[in-house]
Amino acid sequence: MNRFKDKTTSLKDLSLNFNEIEPDLSPKEAMDESNRCLYCYDAPCITACPTDINIPSFIKKIASGNMKGSAKVIMDANPVGASCARVCPTEDLCEGACVLNDASLPIMIGNLQRHATNWAIKNNEQLFEAGEDNGKTVAIVGGGPAGLSAARELARLGFNVTIFEAKEKAGGLDTFGIVSFRLPQEVSLWEVEQVENLGVEIRTNTMIGRDISVSDIESAYDAIVLAVGLSKVPMLGIEGENANGVHDAINFVETTKTPPLREDFIGKKVAIIGAGNTAIDAATCSVRLGASDVKMLYRRTEAEMTAYEFEYEFAKQENVEFRWLTQPMKILTDSEGKVNALECIRMELGEADVSGRRRPSPVKDSAFTIEVDAVIKAIGQSRFVDLIEEFDLSHDRGIVTIDSDTHQTSNPKVFAAGDVIFGNGQGEAMVVEAAEQGKLTAYSIYKELIGENATVNA
């Protein structure tokens, strides 16, 4: 199923390395594949999709040549459906549930979804319309997948919606945090545009708590959706962390999303600390920026790593080296304060901890040093605790507490969705989950402010 056609990386023109690696299905491929779909009744792929996209319906529409209808089915259920076609772990979701897994090969649902939404992007289709103005206003803090999704549905329901986005463009993770060769920025920006075209105002470069106070927002809007996601990678807490050449993986990936691309990685040795999806992104970006030696260091083993299987496979194909049971202890620098080595220690796995994973502990006298030119930290993301506290919301170490049915926080006027609520059993950190939460939040606000159940006409 690996269709990556160009496996070589270019050193002459690094930007080529950041073109989308998986080509769009050709019309013939899309037709063949869509005709293979059984059009199941009560299809398990729909149930497996967090946003309940009617997958057999959109696939049937591709087969019948009804491309606009197909794109609408996808985007109706998922306002960031074009991004999700690229970043969803489809083998765990829709494709994993396909009944053809047992009979032959599952339908390439992700690729078909990409094909249909690509059609809409290329044809510049505006798929939905704003609802009749209901006189109510909603502020959305954060223009990422959850915020956009909530905004899209609220606008269709007739609300006056304003998104406050700290960055210069909306789209959040989809625009800045996912490597370009998986998700080109223009795809995410098309989704942003779809929302803007419904009359949603997006105030970019505007940070709540800095540019506008929390109290101003609270008094100016009938409801608020807090969808700020996650913040920077936390500190490792080891010596040398502030040295020149140490990067935050989120910031690092972000620098590859907008030209010009940095050229200082060509021929360099890079160590990535962590083994989640962001760590893989940092590693593969390093390769594509021309690094000659890219290692991922993880203190546990392959079995405990959190990266998706397909991401792991991709990294291996990119010649990323994995060092398991390895804990960095100290970042060493040269006389100019630039990273030149990483001191590590070997680990071993002991008893299971509260998370159920076996706890790693250092092996005595096993310290060793590896030469590196850059270190990228990818050990998770911290949370916007200050902002959450400014809103005076109940939270658990930055995980905002919500009513799981209504997404309402401890402040009845404030709702929360996306990564800001991820954790403690509240959803999974996936774009598609954030999109669903945004939708549910919109319906819940409608119920709260209008007093009826929401119905959105496609």
Binding site: C40, Y41, D42, A43
Partner: protein
């Protein structure tokens, strides 16, 4: 290794696969290539008065990505001079003396014209004739082809004229564009036909272009009906063969034509009474080499069935084809779902629920897994679920014990009541 040779109405052929009279048999070059590829015979593209063809003359009907599920043409008979065709028939027969060459003929319904062409063609050494009373387009507008073939008297008379001078067997090719094909088949037999062949193509319009609103195909913006063939017409052809085969007044061999695409189709036609088959669309779709699997597959099938000869197949299913009134009203089957093989696409459930008898339930087992179950007391044995099921063996139609057999005809006799049509008049 079974004997694949046939003797069809006295015409000997190395195997039962003939190319039908059509574009693939337009020239000596093509027919010789076909024989080299393994075809047993060829019915040379219809000889007759030189005609003019139009450009843009074929169309395919595609279904769910499958190309040429059906095929449509507005091409006419040969557009090459008779002398050229006769020379090439002679040369081809000389090079392939053991292969079958049949000449398809079409002329106006005049005795002397039939006499003349039969004599001229027979002189070059053909193994037999096939009279084309089927071509539905173009020629019919000039009183030939289907225009003749739809009138039993004209079929009988022209067959007779051909038989008056022919020394080799005469096959009459019938048009399906008629209410009851046995009427024209009977007329052919009355006219002295040695065999009949069916079906020619069915009147059709392949499609309409959604952008230009032109017909498909179109000739400078205008279209006309064409002749339909290919896999889509097989059930229609098979029925017509079967109707003729089970009719005792039509006691001549039948050459089966219409959607024969592989050896399995050929076996079905032969079981239903065809002494051999003719193929066109499958060759036009894939080239002459497709005959290799036809011959090989048939051979393996015969060996598996323990049959020595292909002729042992002919007509074996004919006694099983009858009228609705002869079917057992008490026979009962029900669907049974094999949960081990079922992939839970639920297509059977929704087909039954929306369009049949609402007797397939979607259930959840104690372990949380989903499964489907037929409540057999409500199942009428319609087969729909097993037809829509994408997995072989996931739904079986099970025969269940029932009362003594009784057909509608027997029931009518038993209750000594007039049939419903008459009772309504009363």
């Amino acid at each position: 290794m079974a004997d694949l040779r046939i003797n069809f109405a006295g015409i000997k052929s190395p195997n039962p696969f003939w190319l039908a009279s059509a574009p693939p048999t337009n020239s000596g070059y093509q027919v010789q290539r076909a024989f080299e590829a393994g075809w047993g015979g060829a019915v040379w593209k219809t000889l007759g008065e030189p005609i003019l063809n139009i450009s843009s003359r074929f169309a395919g009907t595609h279904f769910n990505g499958q190309r040429m599920a059906g095929f449509n043409n507005t091409e006419l008979i040969t557009d090459r001079p008779l002398e050229v065709n006769l020379k090439e028939i002679y040369e081809t027969k000389k090079r392939f003396p053991n292969h079958t060459i049949i000449a398809s003929l079409m002329v106006e319904p005049q005795q002397e014209k039939w006499h003349e062409i039969v004599k001229r063609v027979e002189a070059v050494g053909v193994d037999g004739f096939e009279l084309n009373f089927g071509c539905p387009h173009g020629m019919a507008e000039r009183g030939m082809g289907a225009a003749s073939g739809q009138v039993p008297e004209l079929v009988e008379k022209q067959t007779m004229w051909a038989k008056e001078v022919a020394e080799t067997p005469v096959i009459v090719k019938l048009t399906p564009n008629i209410t009851d094909i046995t009427a024209t088949a009977y007329a052919a037999v009355q006219g002295g036909a040695d065999a009949i062949s069916m079906i020619n193509t069915i009147n059709s319009l392949a499609g309409v272009d959604l952008d230009t609103w032109n017909t498909i195909p179109h000739v400078a913006g205008k279209g006309a009906h064409g002749g339909y063939c290919g896999p889509a017409v097989k059930p229609i052809a098979l029925n017509m063969v079967a109707e003729c085969a089970r009719n005792s007044t039509i006691n001549v061999p039948i050459s089966g034509i219409g959607g024969v695409s592989d050896w399995r189709d050929a076996v079905e036609f032969m079981l239903m009474g065809a002494g051999g088959v003719q193929v066109c669309t499958a060759a036009m779709h894939h080239g002459f080499s497709i005959v290799e699997d036809m011959v090989d597959g048939l051979n393996n099938y015969l060996d598996d069935k323990g049959l020595d000869s292909v002729e042992d197949l002919v007509g074996k299913s004919v006694p099983k084809y009858s009228d609705w009134g002869d079917l057992d009203l008490n026979y009962k089957t029900v669907a049974r779902i094999n949960t081990d093989t079922c992939i839970n696409c639920n297509k059977c459930h929704i087909a039954c629920e929306d369009t049949a008898h609402q007797c397939i339930d979607m259930l959840t087992a104690k372990d949380g897994s989903n499964y489907l179950k037929v409540h057999e007391e409500d199942c009428v044995g319609c087969n729909l679920c097993s037809i829509v099921c994408p997995v072989d063996g996931a739904i079986d139609m099970i025969e269940i014990p029932s009362d003594e057999p009784m057909t509608w005809k027997e029931r009518e006799t038993a209750i000594k009541q007039p049939s419903c049509g008459i009772s309504l008049v009363k």
